[in-house]
């Protein structure tokens, strides 16, 4: 995202930056809340290691641009120093190669097999809320209460649910 190289790949990233994109229902979570999570999960004052790994907000419209700029100003005031995170217009978003998607889930063959049986193609697998959450839990994120609230809604077999709980505990 953010560069001019056409159809970038991991090994030919050109002038792009590694980026995540998510769709959300604004009646359930606001863009402001997502910005709050964004600022709490990265160091906006760090000097970027490279263009590949710089931090940025890519706004979709003027409303997002205004909220992003305001949130950056608040972050700078809170930290008392300059914020390097850039606020940029949204361009073409290129999906990473399939082998980069859902990294932690790919390390768990039984759970991966269960999900691959549910989805007819890679695009559906990548876009799944359940898959994204399981990948996050396997990475050790989330709380046990959140995991237990979600676990019956992930489409996993009883054995798969047990494996996920065990893996989450081991990853903590």
């Amino acid at each position: 995202m953010g560069g001019r190289t056409k159809d970038p790949t991991y090994y030919r990233l050109g002038d792009h930056t590694e980026t995540l994109q998510l769709d959300f229902d604004p009646s359930k979570i606001t863009y402001q809340k997502l910005l709050d999570i964004f600022w709490s999960t990265h160091n906006g004052c760090a000097q970027p290691y490279s263009r590949q790994y710089k931090s940025a907000v890519f706004y979709q419209n003027d409303a997002q641009k205004k909220l992003a700029q305001e949130s950056r100003a608040r972050e700078a005031a809170k930290k008392g120093k300059a914020v390097t995170t850039e606020i940029l217009p949204l361009g073409t978003f290129y999906l990473a190669e399939e082998y980069h998607q859902k990294y932690f889930l790919r390390q768990s063959s039984p759970l991966l097999r269960e999900f691959q049986a549910m989805y007819s193609d890679a695009k559906s697998f990548q876009a799944s809320t359940a898959v994204a959450r399981v990948n996050g839990y396997l990475g050790g994120h989330g709380s046990e209460a959140e995991l237990r609230a979600d676990i019956g809604r992930l489409g996993l077999s009883p054995r798969g649910q047990e494996a996920l709980l065990r893996a989450w505990k081991e990853s903590r």
Partner: protein, 44 residues
């Protein structure tokens, strides 16, 4: 993508409804909203 990106996505409750039949989907996916906005971030 760095490790903490997955935590960000989890915290944001991310995901969209995949384009497969609802009978095949986990309940979380079947409940996914159809009306959405898009947010895009680079976490450094």
């Amino acid at each position: 993508m760095k490790r903490w990106s997955w935590g960000f996505l989890l915290a944001a409750g991310c995901g969209t409804a995949p384009a497969v039949g609802p009978a095949q989907l986990p309940p979380l996916d079947a409940d996914a909203p159809k009306q959405t906005e898009t947010a895009t971030f680079a976490l450094g």
